[in-house]
Symmetry: C2
Subunit: 460 residues, 2 copies
Amino acid sequence: MTIKVPHRLYLTEDQIPQQWYNLRADMKEQAAPMINPATGKPAVVEDLYPVFCKELAQQEMDNETRYFDIPEEVRDIYKIYRPAPLCRAYNLEKALDTPAKIYYKFEGNNTSGSHKLNSAVAQAYYAKKEGLKGVTTETGAGQWGTALSEACSYFGLDLQVYMVKVSYNQKPFRKDIMKTFGAQVFASPSDRTEAGRKILAEDPDNSGSLGCAISEAVEVAVTNEGYRYVLGSVLNQVLLHQSIIGLESKIAMEQLDEYPDIVIGCAGGGSNLGGLIAPFMQDKLTGKADPRIIAVEPASCPSLTRGVYKYDFCDTGKITPMAKMYTLGCTFKPSANHAGGLRYHGMSPILSKLYADKYMEAESYEQTKVFEAAVQFAKLETILPAPESAHAIRGAIDEALKCKETGETKTILFGLTGTGYFDMTAYAAYNEGRMSDSVPTDEELQPSIDALPTIPGIQE
Amino acid sequence: MTIKVPHRLYLTEDQIPQQWYNLRADMKEQAAPMINPATGKPAVVEDLYPVFCKELAQQEMDNETRYFDIPEEVRDIYKIYRPAPLCRAYNLEKALDTPAKIYYKFEGNNTSGSHKLNSAVAQAYYAKKEGLKGVTTETGAGQWGTALSEACSYFGLDLQVYMVKVSYNQKPFRKDIMKTFGAQVFASPSDRTEAGRKILAEDPDNSGSLGCAISEAVEVAVTNEGYRYVLGSVLNQVLLHQSIIGLESKIAMEQLDEYPDIVIGCAGGGSNLGGLIAPFMQDKLTGKADPRIIAVEPASCPSLTRGVYKYDFCDTGKITPMAKMYTLGCTFKPSANHAGGLRYHGMSPILSKLYADKYMEAESYEQTKVFEAAVQFAKLETILPAPESAHAIRGAIDEALKCKETGETKTILFGLTGTGYFDMTAYAAYNEGRMSDSVPTDEELQPSIDALPTIPGIQE
C-alpha cells in the first residue's frame, strides 16, 4: 500500500518526543575537551558554573547520557508551537522537474520565527529552576534574542540582550519585538561593561561584532548576583535541545515510510544543523543507515570549507573557554552579509569533529545564489524563508537538480529554520539588483587564522 | 470519555473542506441589492463584468447556492498552508483565572501572515481561468496586497497594487515583500490614473486613503484590456471564500466534542468575521444552535456601533456600485490608527443585514486597550498578533473575565487572523507609551454621514 504524503504533516501533541537525544553518546571519538584559558588545562564542569547555570553546565560536559528527559514545564511550552510540520515540497519538485522527493522541516511557526525557541525555552527553564533573577545574552541577526525574550517572559526572568550595534540600528523592529516581550536591549559595544567601554574608548564609532557582544553579555552575567549567561548556538547543550528537530522529523518520515538519502542544513554555529541531523547521524554512527549529511555555509564566512581545525576562543574578547573547532579565527571579521545568523567565526565542536572524521560534508554558496533559491522557494511554497534557511534550500535544490541529471529518485530532507520577515532589507537589495557577493580571498583569511592562540603542550 | 484537547489541533489534509458555504442561502431576508449609480436601479450581474471576472461576479450575486465546490487548483494551494490550527489558549485561561474555555483559530501560518490568502488564491484562480493578463487592487495595511501577490505569483498573473501613500512610506517592508512575489506596487495617489492625477493636482502632498486607492485600482482595471479588479473584503464573494475559516473551526471543535457559546471576530470590512462565523450563523439561522456572535471594531472607526445603515459607495471616488451597509460615510477619514486593516468606512452588506436583524452584536475598543490585550496574548501564547486580530483577543478576554465573575464555564471561539511582524512601529509606540486613543466625537462623525448619497425612490 502506498502511503499518501500530505503537503504538511503535523504529528499530534502526544507524539512530541519526551527526551532530547545526545549525539555525543554515540560518537566513537569525542570532540576535544574545552580548555580553560587560565590554566591551559581541560575545563571541568565547575569551571563553567560562574557562567552557565548548573544543569546546563552539566549537559554541556556530559558525553555519556544518551537521552535526557525533557522537563514537563519545557514540554508544556513546546506544545504551544510544536510539533513543527514536516512538509513535502511538491511544488518545488514540479518546478525543478526532478525525480527527487524533497522534504523540509519547518521551524518558523512561532513568533520568534525560528528554531531558536527550542533551546531558549530549555535554557530559561533551567535558569528559573536554579532560582536566578535573570540571564544575559548577545544577538546578531536577532532570532536568538527574540526567542529568548519570549522564553524569559514566559518564566518571568529578567533578560539583558547585547545586540550588535550595526544590527541594532539596521533592524529596529527586532529590538521592538524583544522589548514587547519585556527584554532590555542594548546596542553593543555599550558603556555598560568594561569590555564595551574599552572598545568605545579606542573607537567611538565601532559598529560592534558578535564576539564583542558575547564579551559584554558574559561580563554582565559573571559580575551580577543572580545572573548567568546563555548562548543560542555552538554549545553542546544547544545541540542537545535542538535534537527535537531531527527526532520529530524522523518520526514523521517513519510515518510516511520514508528515510532521507540526504540531510541538508544551514550552518553558522551549528544549532539547527546539529539538531536536524542528530537521529540520522546516530544511524550513521551505529551502522544502521548511511545518509549523506551536508552542511551549507555562506561563502563569506566559510568556517568548515576554508577554516582550520584548531583550538580557538568562542568570542573576540577572549574571555570564554577555548574549544577545538573549525574556525576562521576569533578575530575574523566577515564582510557585510545579510544572512546575519551565519556570520560566526567558528563551528560547534561536535559538528567540527564529525566533519573532521568525514561523517559530514560541507559546501558554501555565494549570497546572490542563496537569495535566488529563497525567492524561488517563496513563490512555490508560500513561505518566505530566512536568509540563513535559504542556504539549505540552495543546497537541496542543487541536489535535486543532480537527481534530474542522473534520474535518481533520492529522498532529500532539509531544515527550514525560520522566516524572513525581519530581513526585508536584504530581499529588497536582491530584488533591486543591489546585492553583492563578498567572498574573502586567501590573503584576507590568513591574518585571523595566523592570530589563533597557542596553548603550550596542545597547540603551539 | 473525556476528550483530551491539545494546545493546537491540526486537521488532516483530507479534512480540508471541499466546498465553501454561502451564508446568504440560509438568510431569511437578504441584504438589500447593490445599486448601479448610473441607473439608480439594482445592479445586475452584467453590471459587474467590466470590473470583476465573470465567475466572481456570479458568486457576488448568488443568494441561492448554498455550497460552492472549491476548485481543485485552489485546494492544491490551500493544502500548502492549511488546515489552519484550532488552538486552545490554556495559558491565557490560566492567567485570567477564568472558568471559560478559550479557543482561537489561527490563520497567520503563511507568508502573507493573515487569512487574506484564502480569498486571494480563489480570486487569482478565477482570473487566470478566464484568461486574464492580470489584476489590480488596493492595499492599506498591506496584508491583502501581500496575500494577492503570493496568489498571483503562483498563477503567473500580473498584479498592480495601489498602496495608500502613508502606508507605502511608513511600511517599506510591506512593499518589498509584495515585490519579492513579483507585484508592481505604486503609492496612491499616483500619477498613473485620472483619479490619482486629479487628487494630486488639488493637493500634491495628499497622503492617500483606501477609498482613493480603490478608485485608482478600479480605473486601471476597467481601462486596460485583460485586467480586472479584485478586493480583499466587504464583498459577498470574499465572505464565501473565507467561510473555510469557520468550516474548519467547526470540524475541529466537533472533533473535540465542543461547540462555542460565543464566537468573536474583529471587524473592518468583514472578511474574517464573515468567514469565521459562517457555519455558526447557519446554525443560528436554522435554529440548530444559538451562539452569541460578536463583532469587535476599533473605536476610531466604529461603523457598526456608531454608523448608519444606508446606501453608500464602497470607495471615496464614488465609482463603485452602492451597497446598503453600516457606514460612517465614504468621505469619513479615520484618524491615525495603527490597526490599518480595520479603517474602512463601511461593512460587508451581509454582516450589516445580520447585525440590523439582531443576529449579531458589536462592540468597539480603544487602541491602547487592544494593544494591552495583544501584548498579554503574545507573552502567553507565543504568537505576536496583528493589531487587527488583537481586537478579537480583547473581546475574548473581556468575555472570559465576565465568566470569572459569574462562574460560568462558557466556550469562547475567536479568530486570530494574522501576525504583527509588519506592525512593529505600532508595538514600539505602545511599549514606549507613545500610543494614543482617537475616538471621534459625534460632531466629527456627522459631516460624512450627512454627505451620504441620496438615491431617488430608495434613499432620499
